[in-house]
Each structure stands twice: as C-alpha cells, then as structure tokens.
C-alpha cells in the first residue's frame, strides 16, 4: 500500500483545529501528536518528503483511539480514523510489525477455543512475569488494556468460554417466526458471559429459533492495528458461517463487532466476489440495541427505582449512528430514572490495540469519563460494548464508585433480579 493514494483526502485538512474539540487523547495530552490535524499533517509531511517513515511515526499513528470524534467535529468531514488505519498498514510495511501481533492475529483470533485457552493460560501464568501470550492478548481490547495488571480480572475469568456452556447450534425460541443468528464476540465469549446469557434469554423470547454461531473474532483488532490482511481472513471466515444457515437477522451484543461487520464490504475493496457476498449479508446484521428497539422487548418489572446513565460506545454512536435508541429503551423501563452524563459520547479510553504502551494515557481518558459518570449519581452505568464494560468497570473500581456497570441486555432482561442488593443512592 502507498500512503500517496490518500493524498487528496489528507490534503483536505485545512488545519482549522476543530478536531481538538473532543479528541479524548488531545484533551489529555494537549499535544498535536494526538489529534487528527497533527496525524494528518504528519502523513502529508511523509507524502511531501518532509518526514520519513520511522519509529517516530508510531506514537502519532497508534495512540489514536479510532473513536471518530474528530470526524464529528470536522467541518470537512474527513474520515481521519480510516486514514489512520491505512497509515498504520503502511507503517507496518515500512517499519515492521512486532511478532506479538503476528501471534495474536494469525494464531489466536481465528480460533475461538484457542483464544480462550490462551487467555486462561496467560491469566494464571501472569505471576511469573508477563508471557508473550499475555502481551499479545493485552493488545486485544476486550481483555482490557490492563489485562496483565488487573488481579480481579483474573479471578473473574470464567473457566469455560460462553460457548463452552451454550454450545454453538440452534436453540428454540418462543417467538413466532424470526430466525435469529447470534454472533458471539470475543468479549462476551471470554469474559462478559453474564451479558451473553441475558442476550440469549431475550433473543429466545423474541425469535422462533436462535442459532449461536461458531464465529471467530470479527476482525476489528487487526484492522485497527493496520493489518488489513488478517482482518480480511477473519471476515471471510465469518461470512462463510453467516451464509451457512438461513437467518432473518444476525444479532450481536457487542457494538464494536456490529459496527465492524457492517463495514465488511469495505474490507474487500479489492476482492469483488467477497465484497458482493459481504454486501448481501451485512444488511442482516444488527446491533443488539437496534434489534431491541426494532422488535420490542419483554417489559421488565422493577421493584425499586434506580438511577441509570448510559455510555455511548464509539462503535455504536459514531460507528453506527446509534444514540437515540438506547436512551429510549432505558427511559421506557418503569422504575428507571435516566440521567444523561456530560460527554456521554466521549470514548472511555478502552479502544485501540496499544493497550500495553498507552496505559497512562488511557487512564487519563478514563478518569475524565468517570468524573462525568459520578456527576450523575447513577446506580447503573449501562452500555452496549463488552470492551467498554471492561474499561468502565476498571474505572469504577479505581475511583471507588458505587456503580454497577452492565450491558443493556442485562438491564432489560434481568431487570428484576438486579434489584437485589442495590442500595438506593440519594438523588444528586
């Protein structure tokens, strides 16, 4: 790949600086290296031969969260996050990629079973220093960027993957006609299994049948890392799985997976057949939040009122334009007082594949998020992306907040059960 191909798009930046408005990284560092204008300027400088490809480009290219907030504030609508991914790809070609990425992208992500085993292995083995596998897994954001550091994460790591309990295959539902495919993202499969169980319950209530797919990783981690090839491999594996059954709709409860799978046609820009297949299948795909808002959901009964706030995952709000829906769902549940937090659509800092190297930066972004969360006085912090959940849970612990982080499925399906043990907060 040649970054010159992107010259027109890059030169569209007139350096007005409006991207600085809501870039979580820039707002933490105050450094041009961490904002769209700067990243674009550097890619332009490379094209215009003022700067060379070197390790110095790593930071500006790889500390981008890919959250897309810059594009929202860019009056020229420049898709910087996409350009960054392309820049990363060239960087990997020119400067080289690290073996741990190879390990993760080529040998773990395509195989759900292996991935889960590796996670457990890494978790238990972590006391003896960080293994290579642990390092590689650290790049996978669903484990949280602090994977290698977080004690409690390890304790919570379930012994079996989600699909070890609820095996891939078709399950009957109580609905009339809808045949649902359930795409299990790595986050739910390995860690956020409670969310998965609740999603499953809801799907079974709505669908005539629910098929738990034997999918692999959606491909987003290698894609954001700039490894388009690895991403394409994973995507085509998944496309085969989608087309192996006949579904009216395929649902996932991970907004990151959902937004990326919807983008599949873009991945295969150079492969017409695969692209056609992706184009045909991707309309079937729904984020759980969309699905809930389109199909209705079983009305839960809440005994004690609680205060709920919502964090917009980047891949929901900017990736798929989902913002109204989750709020409407939450507000419609009796007994829930919904309180909007400031900057709800700001990234939580959990994104990106630079988990290990940008720990401090990510924590600064998270601290800002937590301040906003705390200002609402909520009992529940709801979201729709397992990766965000990990990061937010870490934030809640770190800041000693008395707030439960949960997936929207959990609040919708398990609303009643979750009342137990919740102390009411005084209204803020």
């Amino acid at each position: 790949m040649d970054i010159r191909e992107q010259y027109d798009a890059i030169a569209q930046c007139n350096k007005c600086g409006f991207c600085q408005t809501a870039c979580p990284i820039f707002r933490s560092t105050g450094n041009e290296a961490g904002v769209a204008r700067g990243r674009l300027a550097l890619m332009r400088a490379i094209i215009e031969n003022r700067v060379n490809w070197s390790k110095e480009m790593e930071e500006p290219l790889f500390n981008c969260l890919g959250c897309g907030a810059c594009t929202t504030h860019c009056n020229g609508g420049i898709q910087t996050a996409d350009l960054i991914m392309k820049g990363r790809a060239v960087y990997l070609e020119q400067v080289g990629r690290k073996p741990i990425h190879k390990l993760l992208f080529d040998h773990l992500l395509p195989y759900p079973e292996r991935l889960h085993k590796a996670a457990r292995f890494a978790a238990f083995g972590k006391n003896s220093g960080m293994s290579k596998v642990a390092k590689a897994l650290g790049l996978l954001k669903v484990l949280g960027r602090d994977f290698s550091k977080a004690e409690d994460l390890v304790e919570k790591l379930p012994t079996k993957p989600f699909r070890g309990t609820i095996k891939p295959g078709e399950y009957p539902g109580t609905g009339e006609s809808l045949r649902i495919g359930y795409f299990v993202g790595c986050g739910v499969d390995i860690i956020q299994q409670d969310a998965g169980k609740e999603t499953m319950k809801i799907l079974q209530k709505i669908g005539k049948s629910v098929t738990v797919l034997n999918n692999c990783c959606c491909g987003l981690p290698p894609w954001t890392y700039g490894d388009a090839e690895a991403a394409a491999k994973l995507a085509s594996k998944n496309l085969d799985i989608f087309s192996s059954g006949s579904f009216d709709v395929i649902v996932t409860d991970c907004s990151s997976c959902a937004s990326f799978i919807k983008k599949y046609p873009k991945i295969f820009e150079k492969d017409v057949t695969k692209q056609a297949k992706a184009k045909a299948l991707s309309p079937l795909f729904k984020d759980m939040v969309e699905f809930l808002s389109e199909h209705g959901y079983p009305a839960p009964i809440r005994e004690e009122p609680v205060i709920v706030t919502y964090h917009d995952p980047c891949h929901a709000v900017r990736g798929q334009g989902i913002a109204k829906e989750p709020r409407e769902i939450l507000k419609s549940i009796p007994g829930i007082e919904f309180r909007e937090m400031p900057e709800a659509n700001w990234c939580c800092g959990g994104a990106g594949s630079y988990a290990m190297t940008h720990y401090d930066l990510s924590m600064q972004v998270l601290d800002r998020k937590m301040k906003n969360v705390a200002s609402t006085g909520a009992n529940f912090l709801v979201t729709s992306c397992p990766a965000c959940m990990i990061q937010l849970s870490h934030g809640v612990r770190k800041h000693g907040l008395d707030i439960t982080v949960c997936h929207i499925s959990e609040l919708v399906a398990g609303a009643k059960a979750m009342n137990a043990g919740i102390k009411m907060k005084k209204s803020a």
């Binding site: 030169a11 007139n14 007005c16 409006f18 600085q20 408005t21 041009e32 290296a33 700067v51 009056n75």
Partner: protein, 865 residues
C-alpha cells in the same frame, strides 16, 4: 539549532516527556491555522508558572527565541517560530481556578478553551462575553494574544474589554502580576490593555482574570434572508442607526451557505444571496418589540423573509452553521485564505464589491462569512495549497483585499492578528514613525527580542534599524499635524526636547492634576487650540475631535444626531477637555455598564518626545493591527506624549434614565448591591452615599428603552425591599448630568480626595478599615459598589494616616490613587501609595523606551519618575 545541553536542561525543568525534538514533533509544531509554516528547534509543554519562568531563563542563556502557543488556531502565523527557536506550548495550563459571580470575575489558566470557560461560568448563571467562532478549540491565552472577537462582540466588545488581570512571565523570566479582579486597572499605564492583542510579543501569560457578567433573561434569534448582498448590508447599517444594539449581526453569502448546507444542513435557504443572523437579548419585557422593529427594518431594506428561531434547538442549529462556516469550506476546496480586514460599517457594500472583483481578477472562488455589525470582513478565498501558483496568487489577492479595505477607511485586521502574515500590511495603516514607536514599546518588555520575534512590525533593512519615516501607504489620516493647534505644540515640544527641557501637556487647566507633582521647570503646552472636529461619521457612530474640545461641546455636537459619549467623569468641570478625558481615562460609576474611555477610544494621535506626531488605532471598532498603543496612551496622564486628537465611539442616546434608591445600614446596602451584581438586570451603576445615622442610601439606575427601564426599576424596588432597604423611590434624571454630579462636587470641596479600588464584596471591609484609619478627620464617602471603588474626601491627611490607609487598601487586594491633595502633601508623598508595586517596573520601562529623555511631565509617574 539548539545545543544538546539546552535540551537536557529543558528536560530537567519540565520532564523529558514534555519536550519534543523528534522530526515528527517538530513538524507538528511547524504550523497553525494560517498558511505560514516554519520549523521550531524544540517544543516544550510546561506544567506551571515556575516551569515557564525557568524555561524562559534557560532559553535566554542559550540565546534562543521563544513563542507561546495555545491551541494553534490563530490565522496569522502567530505561533510559528520563524527563527527556528523554542515553542512553549501552554496546553497543560488547563484549570479553572475560581469563579466569583458576586464580584463578576473568574480566574482561569490560559490553556483552557473559551468554551470550557463559558460552560464553567454558565453554571454560575454568568457568561464571558467574547465568543470567537473557534471557541471550542481556542484557548483564553490565544484569545488574549490575538484580542479575539466573536459574534457577541457587537454588543459587548472584544477580548480586551473583558480582561481584568493576569499573571505573566516576562522576557527576563520574572513572574509579574498585572491588574487584578477590580474593574479599574491599577493606576498607571494600562498594562492589561497592552497585553491583550500583543500576540505573544510582550510576555507569556500564565493566569488570567476575566470579567464575567450575569446571563441575560432571554434571547431572540432571527435569520434574515436576502436576494442580494447590498440589501443585507443596508439592513445592518439601518439597524444600528436606529439605536438598537443587537448582540450579533452576522452575514453569510451564497458560497458559504452552500458549503454549510452541504456539510451539516442547518436551514439556510440554498437559493439566497445572503443571510444575516440577528440576535437580540435582554429582559423579556420589550425584547419582542425590538425584534419586531428589526424585522421591520429588514423588510424595508429589501429582505426576502425573516425567520425567528422557535426553539433552543433551532437557535443552536442556526449558530452551528455560522460557527462551522470556515471549516465547512473544506467541502468546496482543500484550503482557504481568510482575510479579516475591517471597514466602517456603512462601507460594507463597496467593500464586498471590491472583494468580489479581486477574487475574480485572481480567479478564486470566494465566500464571505463575517461580523457585519462590526464591519469586520472575512472573505474566504478557496484554493489548494498543493498548487504553487494558487498559493502565490492567493497571497496577492489577500493583499489587494487588505488594501481595498484600508482605502475605504478600515484596517488590515479586526481580530485575527498581524502575526507573520500581515506584517507588511502594517505599512498600509501606519507611518514608519508609528511603527518605530511600537518597536520601542516591544523593546521595553523584551529588550533582546526573544519573545515571538520578527512578527507584527514589518522588518527593516538592515535588520534592527528603524524604519524610514514614510507616511502610511494607504490610510489617509486627516487631522494630525495639520489640525489646528498641533503644529505649535509640536514646535514647543521639539524645542524642549532639543534643549534638554521638559513639558507638561495641559488642557483647560480646570482640573486637579492627577499624579505626582512634576518638576517645576516643566513648561505647560496647551491643547486648547486643538478644537477641530476632524471627522464626525454619525452613521457609523464615530467622531474624531481635537484634544482641546470640551466634553460639553462634544456632547452638544453629537446630541444633534441623538447621540452621546457615555462617560460622566466625576470631578470634571464645565469646559474640561476631551484631551484630559483621554489622558486621565477617568470614568464615573456608569463604567460598570458602559465602559471607560479606554473602551470608547478607537484611535488617537499624539506628539511624542521628539515632537513627532504618532498615530494609534483607527476609526473602526475592531482593530488589532499592532500593539494597543491607544490603550497605552489613554490614561498615560501626559507622561508619554501629548494627545492631540482622539477618535471616539459614541452611542445612540437612551430614551429614559431612572434611578431607584433605598436606605439601610451598610450591611443591607452591600447585600443589595451584591444581589444587583448577580441579577439578570442591567444596572448602569450601583453606589451608596451616607445619610443620617449610620445609614446609607443605595442608588442604582437604568438607562435605555422606556419599557425596559421601567420594568427594571420595578424589579429593583422589590429587590431592595427584600434586602431590607426602606424609603424606596424612583427618580428620573438628566442623561448627561447623571445622578451624582453634585455629590462629587461636594467631595471636591475637601482638600484631599482618595480613590481606592477593591472588589465589590470587599467594599464594606475596606470602608470600615479606612474609617478607622481616618478616624477624626470627618471623611465624606462615596461607595461605588458596581465598579468596586471608594472615594473618600478629607481635609487633613498626615503621614501616619496615609500609611495606614495604603496598608488597609493593600490588605484587601486593592489599589490607591490620591486624586486631589495640597502641594505640600504631594511634595513629600507618592500619590500612588506608599507601597511600590511590582508592575511599576514595567511602567517605568515603557516610559524609558518612549520618552527616554524624560521630556513629558517628569516626576508625575508612580515612584515619582
């Protein structure tokens, strides 16, 4: 290049992670939002004031120049290191340090963005008036650096009208405070005024004290749609001429509408030739009527349709389009060059025609989005910076536009600054002498030329030499040496200067002389012959008059057009001159609402210590061409030059003036005053004078449209009663005389008048302290809560008492000037207090730079210089 040692030293000061020297780091700080580009040698991100000071000292030792940077969104190359030096990025200075609605100020660090400050003060039901379209991404430091304006500035003025004080690091690495939270600046040169718009050339700001105001009750936003541009421009002139002061009058033309609508549609009609966003705000009462009146004017001047925003969402959408307009140009072309020349409002139609012709000539597509009410154009020339030829032509076109606007009586930049980009353009508006004076001023702050060097003032050949004394290339400045009385004064001053003598500029000689006693040998030079009305442009509400004209004559003259100069200087006599007003910068209690002479003077001319006429500013309301010499001279009290003429902004007379008064003890009055400071009302002044017993009579007034005034006096009566005041009564009064003239005359009967400044909430404490100190001397008082001043008049003042008074004032963070005292007292005392202040050093440096031989009023300054 900088040395390895220097880098290590920087790392040891700010930490290695806060120093950037990599090729990428350098590239990232080689640009700002302008078209200027140049690599710095190194970038640092200091975390606190001490680090800035140490960095500056280290840079001085290394001999490298440095430039402060906020978020790098300026449009003039202001943050580019043109000498391959050090960029000091202030982005880590991002805290809000305090918000004090009762005293109407907030303290913030300069790296905070304008919008973040707005949001923070908004929570206290206040707002900070300057609102540049870039407010989401421009820092307060940058706003101060450029003296930024925004849509709201039509009504409230630009950044320099809202900066009260700052902490800064000077070029020698010292930390100095300038100004403070009190509305009146520390007596002496207007340093805070000088710092605003100094483009990083006079010091590095590390903390800012801003003036904030209570939010207004309501706002009406309208979109006026036009089929041709001249009609829109015509509406703008007519609205202002009708005496309405909208918050904003923003214009966008068809090209900009297209860009905005294809980016994020916000409801501008795509087939219109121009739209105006017009907004009025204020009390609910009477606002609808104002909006209706505006609509009528628009419709009578060829408007197609006026739409009124029906909800907050609609309003936000109208503004989103305007505020995103520059960036939206990216929809049409990769780059734009934005020019920000100003013209007198009434010349807008011609200016826009010229702009269109120039764009045509150079084959550029051009869009216009601008502050029409201020006459501040923003033509955006669209091009692609990858095309060398485009780049060359676009700069030429930009130059031609500047020249055309100056020819129409305007200036080269209204708010974006000169920086590197418009440096040569300074020749269009200033003479070589004017520019050399500005260079001297800079050298007072920065003798080694290390602070953002080689910007603003055109470079000379060979470097470092004064520029040749050529007149401005384009701007015609009537008056000057040819105005009556000026040549004679020039001759006298020249003679004094040549013979090593000194002079004191004087007007009608009716006033007590402010300041310390002058050297007895200084010869008075009179301004009384300078009575020309040099230019009265009543449509644009601007007048230029000679210094010898009396204030009364000026008021009588402009009254013919139902206009007035909204200043009622206390202690001024019938016959006191405009020159004296400019030189002393005195304002009455109405300052809290209208402003002071510094806020009305747009430009002036003065005779400098070599007998040459020097010009400052111009005749457009927004003007950031060069250092703010106008504000420096205003209030310089005859110590820097003799002001020969001033250009003043005037206003339409209010319909009605009514005051509401109530009686109570000091605590109740002070409580009521604070309530008025924070209420959604527009009091013109809030002041109290003693009445029987220990009681005070608190008076506040309202001036404006009849309905609005009446409504406010009603609310005020209730407010005073609620705070326990009695005998509440309303009274109408004459606009020009004002409510306190007689009272001030009473104070003036005493031998001494002391003026003390302190924030509103400290007034009671200061009063009690002063009362104790002045025990037994039967003082008379005037408590100006609104501006934060106490006037106290006594017949005797001994040394010990004076010391105690000064100490007391210092203890509440205030400042002092003895406005009137017998000669004997002045001989042995400094009227600026017994405690020297750190900013005096800067004032003395300015004096030395601009009047090196001490020609003007020697001995008069603080410290008796």
């Amino acid at each position: 290049m900088v040395s390895e040692n220097f880098i290590r030293e920087l790392e040891s000061i700010v930490g290695a992670s806060h120093v950037a020297i990599s090729s990428t780091g350098i590239e990232l700080y080689s640009y700002d939002a302008s078209l200027i580009k140049s690599n710095p040698a190194v970038v640092v991100f200091p975390g606190d004031t001490q680090e800035v000071a140490q960095v500056v000292k280290a840079a001085n030792r290394e001999g490298v120049a440095y430039v402060a940077r906020g978020f790098g969104t300026n449009l003039s190359g202001g943050t580019i290191s043109v000498t391959e030096g050090l960029v000091i990025c202030m982005s880590r200075f991002n805290k809000i340090l305090g918000i004090y609605p009762e005293d109407r100020y907030a303290v913030v660090q300069p790296g905070k963005t304008n919008l973040e400050v707005q949001e923070a003060v908004g929570k206290h039901n206040c707002f900070y008036a300057p609102d540049p379209a870039s407010q989401k991404v421009s820092t307060l430091g940058g706003n101060v650096g450029e003296n930024s304006g925004g849509p709201l500035c039509l009504k409230y003025g630009v950044t320099s009208n809202h900066i009260l004080g700052m902490e800064m690091v000077t070029s020698d690495g010292e930390v100095v405070r300038v100004g403070g939270p009190v509305l009146d600046s520390i007596p002496g040169y207007d340093l805070r005024g000088l710092m605003v718009g100094s483009e990083g050339g006079l010091g590095i700001i590390t903390e800012l004290t801003l003036r904030i105001l209570p939010k207004t009750e309501t706002v009406i936003t309208m979109l006026a749609i036009y089929d041709d541009i001249p009609s829109a421009a015509n509406s703008v002139s007519r609205i202002i001429a009708a005496g309405i002061v909208p918050n904003t009058l923003e214009m966008m033309d068809a090209t900009v509408i297209e860009a905005v609508e294809s980016n994020k549609p916000c409801g501008y009609p795509r087939d219109a030739a121009a739209v105006l966003i017009i907004e009025v705000e204020g009390m609910k009462t009477g606002l609808k009527e104002q909006a209706d009146q505006i609509q009528e004017i628009c419709m009578a001047t060829g408007c197609r349709e006026v739409r009124v925003a029906g909800s907050e969402a609609e309003r936000a959408s109208l503004w989103a389009g305007r505020k995103g307009a520059f960036g939206a140009m990216a929809q049409l072309a990769p780059n734009y060059l934005v020019n920000d020349a100003c013209v007198p409002r009434t010349n807008l139609p011609e200016a826009l025609e010229e702009v269109a012709a120039i764009a045509d000539k150079y084959h550029f597509r051009c869009g216009n989005v601008f502050h029409a009410g201020d006459g501040n154009l923003h033509p955006l020339l669209l091009f692609d910076s990858r095309n060398e030829d485009d780049l060359k032509r676009v700069h030429k076109a930009g130059w031609d536009i500047m020249e055309a606007c100056v020819r129409l009586g305007g200036t080269i930049t209204g708010e974006h600054g000169v920086g590197r980009e418009k440096q040569e353009g300074m020749h269009l508006v200033f003479s070589g002498d004017d520019l050399n004076t500005q260079t001297r001023l800079k050298s007072a702050f920065d003798p080694n030329n290390k602070l953002n060097p080689d910007k603003v003032i055109p470079l000379s050949e060979p470097k470092g030499q004064p520029l040749p004394p050529t007149p401005p290339r384009t701007l015609k400045r009537p008056g000057g040496a040819s105005a009556s009385g000026v040549a004679e004064a020039m001759a006298e001053i020249k003679a004094a200067s040549a013979s090593g003598g000194s002079v004191i500029p004087v007007g009608a000689e009716l006033l007590e002389t402010y300041g310390n006693i002058c050297d007895a040998s200084a010869k008075p030079v009179k301004s009384l012959a300078m009575t020309d009305v040099i230019d009265y442009d009543h449509e644009n509400q601007v007048i230029t008059v000679g210094s010898g004209m009396s204030i009364d004559d000026l008021q009588a003259l402009v009254a013919e057009h139902n206009q007035w100069l909204p200043i009622r200087p206390p202690f001024f006599k019938d016959g006191s001159t405009m020159g004296a007003l400019a030189a002393t910068a005195v304002s009455g209690p109405e300052r809290m609402y209208y402003g002071a002479p510094r806020d009305f003077l747009m430009g002036l001319q003065y005779i400098d210590s070599e007998g040459k006429v020097i010009s400052t500013g111009g005749k457009v309301v927004k003007n950031v061409a060069g250092y703010d010499m106008t504000r420096l001279l205003c209030g310089s009290n005859g110590t820097l030059g003799m002001i020969t003429e001033g250009t003043w902004r005037i206003a339409t007379k209010p319909e009605l003036c009514t005051m509401t008064s109530g009686t109570g003890d000091l605590a109740s009055c002070s409580k009521a005053a604070v309530a008025l400071m924070t209420a959604n009302l527009f009091p013109v002044y809030i002041a109290a004078v003693p009445v029987e017993g220990d009681n005070w009579r608190l008076t506040t007034g309202f001036e404006g449209l009849t309905d609005v005034v009446r409504h406010q006096t009603d609310l005020t009566s209730a407010l005073l009663a609620k705070n326990g005041l009695t005998d509440i009564a309303d009274k109408d009064y004459d606009l020009l005389t004002g409510p306190f003239k007689e009272y001030f005359q009473g104070l003036d009967q005493k031998a001494y008048v002391i003026k003390a400044g302190a924030i509103t909430t400290k007034i009671p404490e200061l009063f009690n302290g002063l009362k104790m100190a002045l025990n037994g001397s039967q003082p008379e008082w005037f408590l100006d809560f609104g501006c934060g001043r106490i006037y106290v008049a006594v017949d005797t003042l001994d040394q010990q008492t004076y010391d105690a008074v000064c100490k007391k004032i210092a203890s509440v963070g205030g400042h002092i000037r003895v406005d009137k005292a017998p000669e004997a007292f002045k001989r042995s005392n400094d009227v600026y207090g017994t405690l020297p202040r750190p900013e005096w050093k800067l004032m003395h440096a300015i004096k030395k730079a601009l009047d090196p031989k001490g020609v003007f009023a020697p001995g008069r300054m603080q410290g008796k210089i």
